[in-house]
Each structure stands twice: as C-alpha cells, then as structure tokens.
C-alpha cells in the first residue's frame, strides 16, 4: 500500500513529499538545483553536499535509485566554517 504523501524529518524538521520521491528529487528541491541522474548538478558545477538516510550515507550515484519512505530521517550536509 502506498500513501499519497511521505512524512520525513529533513535536517531535523518535518517535511512532506509526494509518494515516490527519491533522494535525488528531495536534494534537488532543497537545493533549488537541477540534478542529473548521476547525482551531479545539471550545470556541471559542484554541489558540495552529502546525504545520510537514517544515519547511513547514500552516495550520490545512488540518489536516483533510492526512494524515500515514510518516517525516515534525511540529513543533507555541506561544508561550513570550521578549524
């Protein structure tokens, strides 16, 4: 059985996505960037982000093939100032 929407925690905040959303879709939405199926930016630039789903890293090559499911925790991280 599939639900119409998925409820997830994204970087600690509740978000909903349409059923069938993949990690690639979610990352593209959150970054406001168009992504290629290989998980890289359509404009060829670097994204500089990484994704963990329920504390397991999902390599960018697997974003397109990884569907989100209800109740998961999605973390999207990037580089910030630090020593």
């Amino acid at each position: 059985m599939t639900t119409a929407t998925l409820a997830l925690q994204v970087n600690g905040e509740a978000r909903t996505f349409p059923a069938g959303t993949t990690v690639l879709d979610a990352v593209g939405t959150l970054l406001g960037r168009e992504l290629r199926p290989d998980g890289r930016a359509a404009d060829g630039g670097s994204l500089g982000v990484a994704v963990a789903l329920d504390e397991v890293v999902v390599p960018r090559s697997r974003w397109a093939g990884t569907a989100l499911t209800d109740g998961q925790q999605l973390e999207i991280v990037t580089a910030v100032q630090g020593g």
């Binding site: 500089g48 982000v49 580089a79 910030v80 100032q81 020593g83």
Partner: protein, 282 residues
C-alpha cells in the same frame, strides 16, 4: 637550502600531494566570507579545514564557503569537529568524503566541551576504523609522544599534536613534547591548535614540526588579513631557522667583533671573559 629556493622546493608532501605552503589555515571563527577569503589568500595556504554541518540555504549573494575555496584552488580538509565518539566521527567523516570528494579527514574526537581535548581511546579506535575504510587520517591529538606514536602505528597519514587547547592562544605549552613527537615521527607532524601569534608558529617549525594548522589566531585577530600574512612569514622563517642550525646557548657573552686592533688599549688580559662552554647548550 637557500631562502630563495625554499618556496619552490620545500613543499610539504602528504599522501603524495605537494602542498606549497606549510601553513594550513582553518576557516573557523569568521562569519564574514569576504574577509575570510582575503585572510586565506594573505596566508598563502593551500589547504584549509572545514566542518560538516546541516545544509541551510545561503541568504543574500548566495556565495558559499565551498564555492569560495574552489574558486581559490584551496584544497579542503573536512574535520569531525564536535564528535565525542568514534561512531559519530565515522559518520561525519563519511559525509565529508561524499560532500567534498576527498578521502582526507581531520579527525577530532573530543572528550568534553570545556577543554575540547582529544579523547585518546576513541581517537585511536576511530583512526583504525577510518584507515580500514580508505580514509587518509590527519589525527588531532594531545601532545603525548606515546599517543602520537600509537596513531602512526594504526595508520594515521599525519599526526597533529596540540600546542594548547583549541582557541586558547596559549602557544606551545610543552615544547619538549612537541620536539619529541616531531623527532620520532615518520609521518608529517602538524602543530594544530593553541597558536596565538606569529612567534609561536615559528617556534613550532623550529621544534621540527612539518607544518602548522591554525584558525582562531588569524580569524579572531583584530586584523585577520595582517595576521594571516604574519603567520605565512612566521612558518617560512621557522622552517628556515630549523634547517639553519641555531647557535648553542651560552651563559656569557661572546664578542662578535674582533678584540685585536682596538684603538683604546685596556688591560684586557686582566679582565675575565665569558664563553664558558657547556652551559645551557642544546
């Protein structure tokens, strides 16, 4: 080696990568990206540290730290700052590798937030596991020569002993230990943390360290750009001095001008002079 050729022939080689500068400047402590960029450029660094944190959309111009570093050709060393256990450090390191496309990691596993001192047990455990997963581990450690040696044994690519706790600017609290670590290591030794001003960065190099990593000393200085330039010169000066061979310490003065041929004759032979050997030599 002459000063003229130092810049081109004295690169620090880590994991087969030649770094032109032996100053590694971290990005922590400045929120103003434009100022950070000027300081990084003034420092001449070719490697910098970043932390890995939750993505948040950039307000305003949209410039990002990642974009800034890419634009300036500065290599990125992601850290595991804020991790208290090997388990946390592993996940953070994996995320940093994926986001920044490098297998280099500055491993920080701290014991508590008052001291920010490394937890030696977790540090060795995390180093071992990260090495097994193909990471090149730059291990931030205490100034304990035995622990530094252990980290090298389990496969650390570089060991990074602290001069003093992070952000204190207390300089190098135990120069003897730093010298001992540097003299025994067969991997690069990077003095990391505690530096407050340029003379301390020079001292680290004089003690035999291969490089210096600092952030707060520059980013929290009143004039970060000027301090960045000072650190750049200090590291070069310290490196040159370490190779040049310092004079022995003596208790009494030794004239550098000839005694013979003076126009004012004195009963020199009757005046006892210094240069007693063996006092305080090192």
């Amino acid at each position: 080696m002459s000063a003229d050729t130092l810049a081109t022939t004295d690169a620090l080689v880590i994991d087969g990568v030649a770094l032109d500068s032996r100053l590694i400047m971290g990005t922590g402590g400045l929120t103003d990206l434009a100022m950070l960029e000027r300081a990084l450029v003034a420092s001449g660094t070719s490697l910098t540290t970043v932390a890995v944190r939750r993505y948040a959309p950039t307000p305003g111009s949209g410039d990002s730290l990642y974009g800034l570093l890419r634009r300036n050709g500065i290599r990125i060393l992601p850290n595991t700052a804020g991790c208290y256990t090997a388990r946390d450090a592993l996940l953070t390191a994996e995320l940093g590798r994926e986001a920044l496309e490098t297998d280099w990691v500055k491993l920080e596993v701290i014991a508590d937030e008052d001291t920010l001192l490394p937890d030696g047990i977790e540090l060795v455990d995390a180093t071992e596991q990260l090495v097994a997963r193909g990471f090149k581990v730059f291990a931030y450690t205490t100034d304990d020569p035995a622990l530094a040696h252990r980290l090298e044994d389990v496969g650390a690519t570089a060991v990074m002993p602290l001069g003093a706790p992070i952000g204190t600017g207390l300089g190098i609290l135990n120069p003897h230990n730093i010298e001992l670590i540097a003299s025994r290591a067969s991997v690069p030794v990077v003095l990391d943390a505690g530096i407050g001003t340029a003379s301390e960065a020079a001292l680290a190099m004089e003690l035999g360290c291969d490089a210096v990593l600092l952030a707060s000393a520059v980013t929290r200085a009143q004039d970060p750009v000027a301090m960045a330039a000072a650190m750049k010169h200090a590291v070069v000066a310290g490196r040159l001095a370490a190779g040049a061979g310092r004079i022995p310490r003596r208790r009494h003065a030794v004239a550098s001008s000839p005694m013979a041929g003076r126009i004012a004759a004195v009963e020199a032979a009757s005046i006892p002079r210094g240069d007693w050997p063996g006092v305080g030599d090192r």
